[in-house]
């Protein structure tokens, strides 16, 4: 029972406040699609439109080719896991997992087996007799996932499922989710998150959202290595965005007084553009594409140092391996990056110094 999700120019508004602006997006059957964006970007609204908890003002939502826009939530055949787990506190774990099966009048003899199977799949088999309040946050989230999987949905909606967990549990649960997806290759997953690591790790494709609109959509590699917009570049991977002017010579751009060599593609001479370089690909010391500036701030992050260097009036971030000697604030330093590690975004205007 594999079914994809299709957003057909879906708009959601509360009064005059548009929270989702004509979203067009297709989640292929069996695909993991991450909706990535800051809070208020409309990503959760998009998920809730699939679940049926918000009604679009226009557009259609299709699940498995069936138009579900007018259907109430309980007739859409979805599984859903939310940040707060929402386990029923008055039911034991097994009853929580059995809830959907009983509600859908699955044959009595079949229920026990399917509950056990779902709990086994999430490694919670030993906790069937406990109440949710007797479990840790991570365990509760596993039960919530088991509960959603027990009804064998074609579509699984995950709304920031790991946000309430601490960092270590989160990375463990990420691996679990990846394993679950391998075991259930037919289930399409829509995964809402504001965490780029979660999106990059799990998703087959990522839809980047901002200000109620879809900004970009592509595989994690595409978005990370060849972002098409400044928002994608800064939100996925926190890139340096430098305003440059394309020069006369081939593969040459001017960043203030500095002359840099990068692939300019088909951008014409004299055009403004944005140069996008990942902080961890910027090195300290002399090299190709040297940027000279003054150290404005140093953050030690254990295995790396993040340097903030003012170059030509712009702050450039560089993540370098832990330094034996930390440069002092105000020191003159030189940064460099390889030409093939930079991406030139042609439109130029509206650079944010993120």
């Amino acid at each position: 029972m594999s079914s994809g999700i299709r957003f057909d120019s879906v708009s959601v508004a509360y009064g005059k406040n548009v929270v989702l602006d004509s979203l067009d997006l297709v989640v292929e059957p069996g695909e993991v699609m991450a909706l990535l964006g800051p809070s208020g970007s409309g990503k959760t609204t998009a998920l809730r439109a699939v679940a049926g908890f918000v009604q679009p003002v226009s557009g259609r939502v299709l699940i498995g080719g069936r138009d579900v826009t007018a259907l109430p939530p309980h007739r859409r055949g979805i599984g859903m896991v939310v940040q707060q787990y929402a386990l029923f506190p008055h039911m034991k774990v097994a009853d929580n997992v059995a809830f959907g099966l009983k509600a859908q009048k699955v044959a009595k003899g079949e229920i026990a087996g399917r509950v056990a199977e779902a709990l086994e799949m999430t490694g919670m088999g030993a906790y069937a007799g406990r109440y949710p309040r007797e479990l840790s946050g991570g365990q509760q989230q596993r039960v919530a996932i088991a509960r959603a999987l027990a009804i064998r949905p074609g579509v699984l909606l995950l709304d920031e499922p790991l946000s309430a967990l601490d960092a270590q549990l989160r990375s463990g649960m990420l691996a679990e989710l990846a394993r679950l997806h391998r075991e259930l290759p037919d289930v399409s997953i829509l995964y809402v998150t504001h965490d780029q690591i979660e999106a990059l790790t799990l998703a087959d494709r990522i839809a980047v959202m901002d200000k109620a609109r879809l900004q970009d959509c592509g595989t994690p590699q595409e978005l990370y290595r060849k972002p098409r917009t400044e928002f994608t570049a800064s939100f996925v991977g926190n890139a340096n965005l430098l305003p440059v002017v394309v020069g006369e010579g081939a593969s040459s751009v001017a960043f203030g007084d500095a002359e840099l060599t990068v692939a300019t593609g088909d951008a014409g001479a004299g055009a403004s553009a944005t140069l996008c370089v990942r902080p961890h690909l910027v090195g300290l010391g002399e090299g190709p594409n040297a940027l000279r500036g003054k150290v404005a701030e140093v953050q030690w992050r254990g295995s790396t140092h993040r340097l903030f260097v003012d170059v030509e009036g712009h702050r450039v971030k560089a993540d370098v391996r832990e330094l034996r000697e930390t440069p002092a604030l105000g020191d003159a330093v030189t940064l460099h990056f390889a030409a093939e590690d930079a991406v030139l975004l042609p439109m130029g205007a509206g650079v944010s110094d993120a």
Partner: protein
Amino acid sequence: MLVHSRTGKWTTWGVFGLLFVPLFALPLLVILAASFAGHWSGAFPSGFTGEHYASAVRGDSLQALTTSLVTALSASVLALTVGTWAALAAAALKKRGRRVLDGLFMLPVAVPSVVVGLSVLVAFSKPPVILNGTSTIVILAHTILVTAFAYQSVSAAILRLDPVYEQAAASLGARPSYVLRRVKLPLLLPSLTAAAGLCFALSMGELSATMMLYPPDWTPLPVQIFAATDRGSLFTGAAVAVVLMGATLLVLFTVSRIRTRASFR
């Protein structure tokens, strides 16, 4: 603890005692003392006797006790059903509709209960529905009076109920009626029992509307107490009052036991 210093704590306890004992405890203690008294001419009662209790749990008084219990139980069950239903319906309404409903259910509280009693009497003394002189009219009046409290406490509980449970249940394919039965009502249970207890206690003590309506064969305890003191049997009235208090507290205690078992978090 709001008060930290030792003297501060003692002062607080002192003020509490000064206010609590005369205002709340003493009147109840006086009733208790009077119920055992043979005479009370000086500062303290004298001639202790259990005689008043012997008459308080026999004959008319015993019948009044069962009458009160039946009336209060029926009224609170009815009030809880109607109040919960209305509160659930109100929660599904838009803001304006909810405000209208809130106002409607506030009416019996805002209007003096004598007026409620009189209006019920007038309304059901003529065809098509004649209830005058029946036990039903007493139960009906009590229900009208206490439904407001049931409605309000259940409404407040519904507002506090996190919608994620309902949504999680719906996403698992549960119809709204199934969600109500298996998720919402069980989660509301602590508030429902609290509301039931409140309704029961209010109905057990109701006098003013009852006075206007009760038929001779359906005399609730408060009326009995009033009649006893009115004809000068103050000590017998006190004993009946203690019985009323005890019965009410016993039922409330039982209800609160359900509540502790039903609170999940």
